[in-house]
Symmetry: C2
Amino acid sequence: MSIKEQVMKMKAVSPKMAALTTEQRNKALECMMAALEANKEEILAANKVDMDKATADNIASAVLKRLKFDEHKLQDVIAGIKELIKLPDPLNKKLMARELDENLKLYRVSCPIGVIGVIFEARPDALVQISSLCLKSGNCAILKGGSETFNTNKALFNVIYKSIVEAGVPEGSFMLAESRSEISELLQCNGYVDLLIPRGSNQFVQYIMNNTKIPVMGHADGICHIYVDKYADVDKAVKIIIDAKTQYVAVCNAVETLLVHKDIAGKLMPKLNEAFKEKSVTLKGTKDIQNIVDCEEANDEDFATEYLDLIISAKTVNDIDEAINHINKYGSHHTDSIVTENDEATEHFMQLVDSAGVYCNCSTRFADGFRYGFGAEVGVSTVKLHARGPVGLDGLVTYKYRLYGDGHIVADYAEGRKQFHFKDIN
Amino acid sequence: MSIKEQVMKMKAVSPKMAALTTEQRNKALECMMAALEANKEEILAANKVDMDKATADNIASAVLKRLKFDEHKLQDVIAGIKELIKLPDPLNKKLMARELDENLKLYRVSCPIGVIGVIFEARPDALVQISSLCLKSGNCAILKGGSETFNTNKALFNVIYKSIVEAGVPEGSFMLAESRSEISELLQCNGYVDLLIPRGSNQFVQYIMNNTKIPVMGHADGICHIYVDKYADVDKAVKIIIDAKTQYVAVCNAVETLLVHKDIAGKLMPKLNEAFKEKSVTLKGTKDIQNIVDCEEANDEDFATEYLDLIISAKTVNDIDEAINHINKYGSHHTDSIVTENDEATEHFMQLVDSAGVYCNCSTRFADGFRYGFGAEVGVSTVKLHARGPVGLDGLVTYKYRLYGDGHIVADYAEGRKQFHFKDIN
């Protein structure tokens, strides 16, 4: 069967998947946990094949670390599923209940999105997380992982799929896409796939966004800013900037550009540059910055660059509005932070910066589903519709309107024989 | 200035538009009302020019009726703005409030989407409604109306724009696109336009959806179904079907296909066919239907057709699941209704039919923002993300996360020095 045929079949199965009860979905998650534990030898052996190949291919050690799926990571994903089972069911929540007229009741009820295609980086734990999130939220899923973990993905998927089908999840509700060529087939499946969630490099996500008619949730760039206001506490600023730049450098919520109020630059920059040197951060500054500290020169291109590295660009601004305009123009609407002790400046910044996350006196690295207390994260969205920022379980649901009547017709209302009374009910 | 230049300027203005207070936006709506009243001579005169041209062009009288903008319609739109002012502000609502740790507080707060492009049919009242909805929700808007009402649109827009700018709405936050060629320019403005809402014919909306990277909210088809279950009350069914087909025939929520349980077809169809004849509805049925009543033959193509006319297709089904599968396959996920006295059948249908509206014992014609009590409607969405079904004011907002800290950094949590405590707050 072609990908399209499989996806069409999955679409037909999706209402049955959506109709599983809370108990059925949680039971399937329990079976998934047990199966992972029971089949760990097979899974770890498959990962050894991937790891051996990666080592032979001379893959960088940082990447190898992500590819590795050992006993420790297995226990982590199992613990993750355990937590997920405890989370409240995102489905069948009454989001609105209204009596339109006598015996005519309208409910807005949460339901799964349907069929979700997730294309994720070479991290075997991601496969387990995504499968369990989709199952918990009643969605069917097409999973495509990185080719570097081909064998691990296959072993994990087989174990998971078998266990949940045995637990009563409809056949065909999950599938693994194995080859890269299947991505382009998947991108053509509009009308059958309801949502695509691509994770990975900037260019890759941009490619997906530009080559499909299926709605895409995610983010390409993560150009995050910190603005150090005139009224900032300099020590706080240094601490926050160092964390946001160096705590984990290769992630979308790391800071890439620093905007410094001209009145505080002289006090901040020397201290900050010391801290940068200690952490091996390369500073690239505009002329104004170079006048204060010795650093490389930053140009316009720097301000549009997501370094994902120990590099940071910096410029001075004349006032808070210049900072806000810079962020709205060059930023990727991901997460931007102001450091200030002035409440008015805080509110002005938070109101006018058009980003998924607007922060005050804290590191941009907090932009993450786990740190927001969502329990689990699908990804971070910089699109404005549906879900924005870190996306938890509730980003995988939509709603439908249920209207219960007793022979009600519109003509009665249009011709004035009856009138709506709109009462909120339970 | 080209459309793109104007839109880029609008994008830069949009955060200021978003920052207007409830009072400022409501005051601007009041000024809009007053200006429409004060300038009515000019507006009605412009409409006369459009009407004269349409009459000379021999436009159908049903269309003429929509183009006409007289004293009565003016009072209607003014009354609509008055109601809108009374509606609660959709902005700055705390959708979530959580203390992540001491002095680290996260809020999810509703905010405008930003820049919205609305392409609407030739109805001058639509221009006023859309402008007022966008203003109430703090969005900037590019408005493109039908060319048949060119002069009326221009007069209305000038009056509205002048009045709201005088009331403090930022310059450049609204614009009127006048020529059809500007639509294709608009479709290229991804990155600056956050959402497109096209209204109009199936083909037109489909064209928009297929030719832009900007997210689109709306619906192309409206192929709505009524399934008459084995346990239906036949008289109720006839009444509901006649309303759904004939109460207003040229709309997306009119019923196009009838699915009849085989055990009730013999009782239902003769009665129904009598009613159809009385209302001049042409019935097209499958062989099974033709065996019961005299009618034209329906083929597969009929079941994929939105007639928007006094025509209805019909087929018998062996059971409720056949009906559900037919709806999920041929339907447009708009609105579908079951007629039955059996609660189990109702719940089964509502759970498994994958449509924005799933109804029981009532007409599909209820799918409408006014009838849902939303006070105002932007349109009906059959996409699954963001807003589904009739879309009111809250379909024009998104949210941002605001995080307030006091020097908080992620390293403290990653390295175990601090722990999140996740407490819901007010």
